[in-house]
């Protein structure tokens, strides 16, 4: 009955903005190429990173460099929100009001879907020519390539990621020291660490059952049992996934055991990621298994105790992927300028800015990373990259799987269903999604 006025205002604002900024009506050949670039005097650029985050800072510098190198061309930057782009990109890009280059969410349901509809430019040739394809390790490149039906992992290049992200373990060094504990290096040691905390009456792992963290922990546990082929089958449908197989069974049963053992609070089903993060920042939990996206915030907000990261003990594979992508819409009026801009963002100096501000650069020179705290995270990330160990996210394969995972893993937290039942449910939704995708 009451729609939130802010959202409405934001929407109206966006529409007005889009309508007001109908720039020159350039060539509409739609084939990418270099139509209209020669005489373009502006590059309309959209992204949704906060201005003081790692990407925001690095890209602001890239815009400056671009304008210096292209006298007479101005970048019309418009800041968007993640939600705005997530929910309206299809409509905007099929209109004439869209940007010439934009940041867009990686994945089958987003970049994949739009590329299969012909709304994004195939940049394979450019990426080869400019050397971008060599800069990205295979598991980073996975999310930049999509086949004809929009499934990632093979086919043509439709975007270029500047940064990566992955799931790791944040830990409170002070609490570890007080308990006389060392950083665990295997899953067994991890269990011992958690047992020690439980014996002291401390819940060792922060958790949030209403959002992504629970599903990611379940996935991390599953990943401890798998090889690359399993991940490819799970994510790219190259082979059947056995939902009652040993890998997923280990994930679900271990998760349930961890709840029983008190490693994870049994009343965390309704908590959101924000609650978990804030609790870690407040020093309530000694550990939190979550993504590198927390890093900058923890640097800013934690004072009073030392903290660090270690990769999920024993895992070769970890949830993670390239970050979001630079894409060039088919309706871009200045594709060549857009490529020039992407090229600038991949330069070592811009990548170093990204890395020194808490981001995970994909093509930085390690020697350029001077910030000690950032080095720690980048080292952990590089460890994963060396194994080509990015395993993407559990909800990626089928649209809407996220909600199913949240609901099912809540059952594990609440103890209201057996792991095998939960896996049946997940498997049914997954199989249905795979059938729809085919």
């Amino acid at each position: 009955m009451r729609t939130t006025p802010t959202r409405l205002a934001a929407l109206t604002g966006a529409v007005a903005l889009a309508a007001g900024l109908t720039a020159c009506s350039g060539s509409d050949d739609g084939g990418g190429g270099d139509g209209g670039t020669a005489d373009a005097t502006s590059l309309k650029l959209w992204h949704y990173e906060s201005p003081n985050g790692a990407m925001g800072i690095a890209w602001a510098e890239a815009i400056k460099v671009f304008e210096e190198e292209h006298p007479g061309v101005t970048i019309e930057f418009e800041e968007k929100s993640f939600e705005q782009i997530q929910q309206t990109a299809g409509m905007i890009l099929s209109s004439d009001e869209g940007p010439d280059i934009m940041e867009y969410n990686k994945g089958n349901a987003t970049t994949g879907l739009l590329s299969s509809q012909g709304l994004l430019t195939d940049i394979t040739a450019v990426a080869d020519e400019r050397g971008w394809t060599d800069m990205l390790s295979p598991s980073l490149a996975t999310t930049a390539q999509y086949d004809e039906s929009g499934v990632m992992g093979s086919g043509n290049w439709f975007g270029i990621p500047n940064y990566g992200e992955f799931v790791t373990v944040y830990y409170n060094k002070a609490m570890f020291e007080d308990a006389g504990l060392e950083v665990p290096t295997s899953l067994d040691e991890m269990v011992e660490v958690m047992d020690t905390f439980v014996a002291e009456g401390v819940t060792p792992l922060g958790m949030a059952g209403a959002e992504y963290p629970a599903g990611q922990l379940f996935y991390q546990l599953t990943l401890s049992q798998v090889d690359r082929q399993w991940i490819t089958d799970y994510q790219m449908f190259t082979g059947p996934v056995d939902w009652q197989g040993p890998e997923l069974t280990f994930g679900a049963e271990t998760f349930a055991e961890w709840v029983d053992a008190g490693y994870v609070a049994s009343d965390s089903a309704s908590l959101k990621a924000e609650d978990m993060g804030v609790a870690f920042i407040n020093g309530t939990y000694p550990m939190m298994v979550s993504g590198s996206w927390w890093y900058g915030r923890l640097v800013d907000e934690i004072d009073g105790f030392e903290w660090g990261v270690f990769n999920f003990p024993g895992n070769t594979f970890n949830a993670g992927s390239s970050g979001n992508l630079w894409v060039v819409p088919t309706n871009s009026k200045a594709p060549e300028l857009a490529y020039d801009f992407i090229d600038i963002t991949m330069r070592p100096e811009i990548q170093a800015i990204l890395g020194n501000n808490g981001g995970l650069p994909v093509a930085a020179d390690p020697a350029d990373i001077t910030d000690a705290k950032s080095q720690e995270l980048i080292t952990a990330f590089n460890e994963v990259l060396e194994n080509d160990g990015l395993a993407f996210y559990p909800d990626w394969p089928v649209p809407g799987f996220y909600d199913v995972i949240v609901n099912s893993v809540q059952k594990l937290i609440n103890g209201s269903a057996e792991p095998a039942t939960v896996l049946d449910e997940l498997g049914a939704a997954y199989d249905q999604g795979v059938a729809n995708a085919g």
Partner: protein, 310 residues
């Protein structure tokens, strides 16, 4: 929307110009209500990810819908929402309005009762996102104010996992909705009470009628039109409720608080199953229209009865 133009045009032209006044409203109605409604019905007969061309699949979405467990859960929850947003607030609102008007307003002063009325109405003014975030803080099982208070009173057994357990999530959401909703009937009923002729009460009082008798025999029948309005608008709001669910629980845990609008949203946007989402929205619209029609028939009947009774 009502225009109060008192033009003195010739009679024939006058009739034509009435139609002219309807054009802007009619055009808006067509563009904002009718067209999307028809499009929605069309989409509900297709499979469509939101981009490209929809594939026509006939009634497949509806067949799937009626077999979908979550769909039925969401409509059962709609009934719970009607209890929480219509039945309880209307009864409670009636009581509060009567107490504020008859007792507080007379024993203390008008400003006290209007002050209290404003306080009851406050939750209605707060944006729903604020309400949702506020309550999810209060109800946080580990650090929330409610459980902290309960634990400090030694009532650890009562400090439940309010929004996280399937047993308590729906009742918790219902309690929040009562809190949000109650101000609306209070305000409407208080203004209705001011409309009632005081002579009726005085006459009844002289005849020795007590407070409850007067309430039942005079107040209730006199404010019937307002009661219809309140129950109808609140029922429609309850059937369409989205914001509080989105902010408080996202339909969880385990779908135990999912409602039709949120379920439709889940399919429209995150799942990109626009056709299926449209089918849910269509069923929801049909139910809302049915409920509204039933209300209107009941109201008309009761008015007719009253007119005959006089």
């Amino acid at each position: 929307m009502s225009t109060t133009a008192t033009t003195t045009l010739p009679r024939i032209r006058g009739e034509v110009s009435y139609w002219a006044y309807l054009v802007p409203g009619g055009a808006l109605f067509l563009a904002i209500i009718v067209l999307p409604f028809v499009m929605n019905i069309y989409f509900s007969l297709t499979r469509w990810p939101g981009l490209g061309d929809p594939t026509f699949i006939g009634l497949e979405n509806y067949v799937r819908l009626f077999q979908d467990e979550v769909f039925w859960t969401s409509f059962r929850n709609s009934i719970a929402m009607i209890v929480a947003m219509v039945v309880v607030p209307t009864l409670l609102g009636l009581l509060l309005a009567a107490v504020l008007f008859d007792y507080i307003g007379k024993k203390f002063s008008g400003s006290v009762s209007s002050g209290l009325r404003a306080v009851y109405y406050l939750p209605q003014i707060l944006p729903v996102t604020v309400v949702g975030i506020l309550w999810s803080w209060i109800l946080n099982p580990q650090t929330g104010a409610l459980n902290v208070v309960l634990r400090s009173l030694g009532l650890d057994g009562m400090a439940l996992n309010w929004l996280g357990s399937t047993d308590t999530a729906l009742p918790s959401v219902m309690a929040v909705m009562v809190w949000v909703q109650v101000g609306y009937p209070v305000v409407i009923f208080m203004s209705a009470l001011q409309r009632v002729d005081p002579e009726l009460y005085e006459a009844a009082e002289l005849d020795g009628a007590g407070w409850f008798t007067r309430f039942r025999a005079i107040t209730l029948p006199q404010i019937k039109p307002e009661t219809f309005v309140v129950t109808l608008t609140c029922t429609i709001a309850a059937l369409k409720v989205f914001g509080p669910i989105y902010v408080l629980t996202r339909g969880g845990p385990e779908n135990s608080t999912n409602v039709p609008s949120y379920f439709a949203y889940q399919n429209f946007f995150p799942k990109s199953q626009v056709g299926y989402g449209a089918a849910i929205a269509t069923v929801l619209t049909v139910i809302v229209l049915l409920v509204a029609a039933i209300f209107m028939v009941l109201q008309a009947r009761s008015e007719r009865k009253e007119a005959e009774g006089r």
